[in-house]
């Protein structure tokens, strides 16, 4: 089986023009089929403020009313996605931007409004790989923003980490699939203040202990749940760390195993 790399980047790269340029240049050098998934960074919040649309977050997750959905569609699928695609093209990486609506690639259900009403937020129901496979076979690199649809014409705000894990699982029967979560730290850390304290391997057993001992908490919990969800559903390799882990072999990072 061929290897497919699915790489998710977040705000630390997207919000920094130089970091993004450098990352995209290096990303373009990755041989073989690859998919990029990007979050939204701070730009959506900035635009909401400019447009005087209230930003409402609950437990670190954005509440997506109709105005906010317009804003994230403009920022994620418009400004960020198209600029990434144009930059990749300048490095001879033949990218095409996707939301989950494009090619009907990712179908979501509107998240139930109870216990918390997150508005137009989507929980992934199904990944359709057919069109993406055709494109990957033609050396096209899909670039996903964090928006899906419900197949009834409604766009839905969807967590980018989840999109990455769902895509990886969707392709796991066709490719040897590797999932990389790039963020601002070297990996999962023993001590959150010491970027050298990387825990290089976490498995189901040690994860339990790390959660019990509160070494892993808050925002890292959903990220790691996505990792274990992927590794337990035929994804071959799941890593968390700085994007450098992709390009420099000696770069320490965290690998998730069963």
């Amino acid at each position: 089986m061929k290897t497919l790399k699915i790489i998710k980047i977040g705000g630390n790269i997207i919000d920094n023009e130089d970091a993004l340029q450098q990352f995209l240049k290096e990303f373009s050098t990755i041989n073989g089929p690859k998919i990029l998934v990007h979050g939204g960074g701070k730009l959506a919040t900035k635009l909401a403020q400019q447009m005087q649309v209230e930003v409402k977050m609950i437990d670190g997750r954005r509440v997506t009313d109709a105005d906010t959905l317009d804003i994230i569609t403009m920022v994620y699928a418009g400004k960020i996605n198209k600029n990434i695609v144009a930059q990749l093209q300048s490095h001879q990486c033949n990218a095409i931007g996707f939301s989950g609506a494009d090619g009907n690639t990712i179908v979501s259900d509107l998240r139930p409004s109870k216990p918390i009403n997150y508005g137009f937020a989507g929980d992934v129901k199904k990944v359709n790989t057919e069109t993406l496979e055709v494109l990957l076979n033609n050396k096209v690199t899909p670039v996903f923003c964090a928006i899906t649809h419900d197949q009834n014409g409604q766009l839905l705000n969807t967590n980018a980490d989840t999109i990455a894990s769902e895509l990886a699982i969707g392709f796991a029967s066709i490719y040897n699939t590797e999932l990389y979560y790039c963020f601002e730290k070297n990996g999962v850390l023993e001590n959150v203040d010491d970027d050298h304290s990387v825990i290089e391997n976490i498995n189901t057993e040690t994860y339990k202990t790390l959660v019990e001992d509160k070494v892993i908490f808050e925002g890292m919990l959903p990220k790691l749940n996505n990792c274990f969800y992927a590794i337990n559903n035929q994804v071959q390799k799941v890593c968390i760390g700085k994007s450098e882990m992709l390009f420099h072999k000696n770069n320490k990072h965290t690998t998730i195993t069963k």
Copy 2:
């Protein structure tokens, strides 16, 4: 040869939610390969006002500074394009949104800054059909917004009518290509105030006379130049009129011939 329909819609459909819904529903029923090209409508101007970015037009064309380019990328490639794609998916039309950067499909040159500096405006240099052909063969419907790129990472604002004619010409050697410009009138009119005064056929000869007699003027001139550019470059059929011309056989419209 198979027939490919390339259909361009403008502000009169995009700015009216009901008209857009109705159009997309009918568009989805068109059998065979098809490409939709959409303009931007009034939403970009509205957003610019909300963001207090000055809107500058010269001869009906937008001057695109960096802030304006961000706005049109957000509105055209984000909000409008993704909502069209999601609605088409709800009608079982497997759409994928495109800018010219996606798949390197439309490459432009930055328009020279003299005699008039239009900022980040692009003049189409090359259409690459390969990736689009693969998708059309897989029953995917590309949906183009009016943005292209220069292959050096720069997005460029590009006239939607031109994108439609360039796509039609690009495909003319592979498909029997038909180009439809949908706008708010029944076609080119003898009397601009009488929507029943449709000139049903215009050829190169009669076009000259109509321009000399000032029956055709202002905004219709570039539109008709795009039409003749297409019909003189192997496009099989070029029509102008209300979108109803696509769905109702008796709907009067203007056909352009050599």
